[in-house]
Amino acid sequence: MCVSLVNVINAATAQGGLHGLGSVLRIVIQRLLLGLLTLLVVSIVIFTAVNMLPGDFAQAVLGQGATPEAIESIRRDLGLDQPFVARYFTWLAGMLQGDLGTSFAQLNFQSNMGGTQLKGVAEQIAPRFFNTMFLAAVTAAIAVPVAVSLGILAALYRNSVFDRAANIFTLTSISSPEFFLAYILILFLAVLNPIFPSLSNIFEGMGFGERLVKTMLPALTLTLVVTAHMMRMTRAAIINLLASPYIEMARLKGLSPMRVIVVHALPNALAPIINVIALNLAYLITGVVVVEVVFVYPGIGQLFVDSVKIRDIPIVQACCLIFAGAYILLNLTADILSILSNPRLRHPK
């Protein structure tokens, strides 16, 4: 399916006006379209999965004791009397316009309490989405510089005591579950030495400094998780290059080891490093769920888990699509960046 689509795009771009734009742009456009297609198929998968629920939504919303009339009216309101394909397109059109539906919890509340103004899923998700983005940004701001510089140091002093200690430490922190790291950090940085709060109660209109302090522990936990992987890949990418003749030449010129690595090896190792950074940011999206639950951080991950527990399908669906979208987008970015930074891919034969 995808391959045939690639061929079609290839043919179209080759024949059309894009011919003069060079092959890089063509590959990038291809990847973008492919990403869009993947997102579309993923949305079908999510929608089909949710529609495999036994019974129907109306019953689930109102519970066992609902009258047939109430169920019928909810069915009509939610459009459940429409066929499957029509419902999918309605849902997709809503998603594209930022209308993510109404959560079951609130529908239920409304049908029991009478007509209060409903808050849509989108309004519930928006502030939490911002919080999660903030957490991810703080994590990236700490993790990326630390990981890259530690990786360079480990490559510089490879096989030394420092390198081995770093290897053991990173392997340990990669393989520990997030909640273990989180509780260790809580124990030492919140309970025994009260430096940071162990609960991140973030609210709107909070000052940046205060917000930063309250975000610190979840951010540090995520940093521990992603730094290890990024650092190992940085080290491996640089060491891979050290056997090449031009590095040998730089060494024979009498350059210092630091200069050889930072000025000569690093620029050529940038492609895999950028790639692994983007992939780890994509990984953050999954890791964020557990960490947000531990620290009661009001982000999208916590909302997702809470909705999973009370089976609030519209929110689960919307969160799932947002997570998948962000994941696909970051993977796509990694893909495109590695094409742009690799001359061999830029000029394919």
């Binding site: 629920l53 005591v161 520990s176 025994l192 769920v289 639950v293």
Partner: protein, 400 residues
């Protein structure tokens, strides 16, 4: 003076000490190459490391209780950590020593070239396997047995609310934590192992089929796997678990069975990728062509020609995949949608007991129960990762 000024002063002092250290080394050894060519950064690193070591030793020998009689939990935890580290290092060393003199020639040779971390990993895996298999014999109580006393403090000291009969105490409804930890090995590890085997069975056989048969089957499978892999694993698992939790009571099948199936299918996509990639390199070999010309069937090709040549990468992947599955199950249980009570499970235990961490400042032993459960998960994955790391290094021949 605020804390960041202290850091600047400390860095300055260490830098000065580093310069003195290098200079003294050059003078004392008559400009030996080690000191003559030492960059300043390395000298800085040596001094920093030495200072940290001195600080760690000083901290280790701090009194456990302040003069006012308040327990110093940081010191207690630090001592436990150091003792645990040394104990495991010695155990791994002895285990490697044992392996070098006992066993067949091949295993002895293997143990001779083994780094200490890998020996540690193998030892941990063996201990876990032993505990998981003989859980019913080792555990003092049953995993669902509710005892008379709830909330007994770990440590077994009656002065602070412990009971020597329950060395790790009891939980909120009076179940023995030690027994539940031991049964957790059986449930958590056992379920994760079964899931991984299932994932390998599905992913491996489909991957081999796709590469041997090729054509539309390969296209269909590969593209579906691409789509499934575009959704983050934990998120997808949570979505499917929501649906399964509605289905489970209507069908009368335990939710844990659904979880095993869901995670096996999600992880089999990753196995499929690897199995297909490995088999793709094998099916173009001449001996496969020869076997095809001999008129061998598909079963023979897959099991007698491809599988034996794909064992090494698949075995390493099995270890890594097991870690992922194990962590996913632990995370799901921690979030409350994984292995269901009353089965003892480490993820659920961490969630249930996590509140006790807040009392660590008053009595350090209270916080051990949740940390032990979480640590049990971490220890196994760390052990498996160490072994896999060593295997990959060995097979790829990476020396640097």
């Amino acid at each position: 003076m605020s804390w960041w000024m202290w850091i600047i002063v400390a860095v300055g002092v260490i830098a000065g000490l580093a310069w003195v250290f290098r200079f003294a080394g050059q003078q004392a050894t008559g400009n030996k190459p080690l000191f003559r060519d030492m960059p300043f950064g390395v000298a800085f690193g040596y001094v920093l490391g030495a200072l940290l070591l001195v600080f760690a030793i000083w901290f280790y020998f701090q009194p456990l209780v302040t003069e006012a009689g308040v327990p110093r939990a940081s010191v207690t935890f630090f001592r436990w950590a150091v003792q645990g580290f040394i104990l495991f290092a010695i155990a791994a060393f002895l285990f490697r020593l044992l392996g070098r003199y006992v066993g067949t020639g091949a295993t002895r040779k293997l143990f001779r070239s083994m780094p200490l971390t890998a020996a540690f990993g193998i030892l941990v895996i063996l201990i876990y396997a032993f505990v998981a298999i003989f859980a019913g014999v080792i555990a003092p109580f049953g995993q669902e047995e509710v005892l008379a006393n709830a909330n007994i403090v770990p440590g077994g000291d009656p002065m602070v609310g412990g009971n020597p009969e329950y060395p790790l105490g009891t939980d909120q409804i009076g179940r023995d934590i030690l027994s539940r930890l031991i049964y957790g090995a059986q449930n958590t590890v056992g379920i994760a192992f079964a899931t991984t085997v299932l994932a390998f069975f599905i992913g491996g056989s489909l991957g081999f089929l796709a590469s041997t048969l090729g054509g539309w089957l390969d296209q269909l499978l590969s593209r579906s796997v691409d789509v499934l892999m575009a959704i983050p694993a934990l998120i997808f698992a949570l979505l499917l678990m929501t649906i399964a939790s509605v289905w489970a009571p209507t069908l009368g099948i335990p939710l844990t069975v659904f979880m095993v199936l869901i995670i096996a299918v999600i992880d089999s996509t990753r196995v499929f990728r690897l199995a297909r990639a490995v088999a793709m390199n094998i099916v173009v070999m001449d001996y496969i062509e020869a076997a095809k010309l001999r008129g061998e069937g598909l079963t023979y090709l897959v099991f007698r020609e491809i599988l034996p040549n794909a064992t090494a990468p698949l075995l390493a992947e099995f270890g890594l995949r097991f870690c992922f599955v194990f962590l996913t199950i632990a995370s799901l249980s921690f979030l409350g949608v994984g292995i269901q009570p009353p089965l003892a499970d480490w993820g659920t235990m961490v969630k249930d007991l996590s509140q006790f961490i807040n009392f660590a400042g008053f009595a350090p032993q209270v916080a051990t129960a949740p940390l032990l459960a979480a640590g049990a998960i971490a220890l196994l994955t760390v052990g498996v990762n160490f072994v896999v790391d060593w295997m990959l290094q060995k097979t790829s021949g990476l020396k640097e």
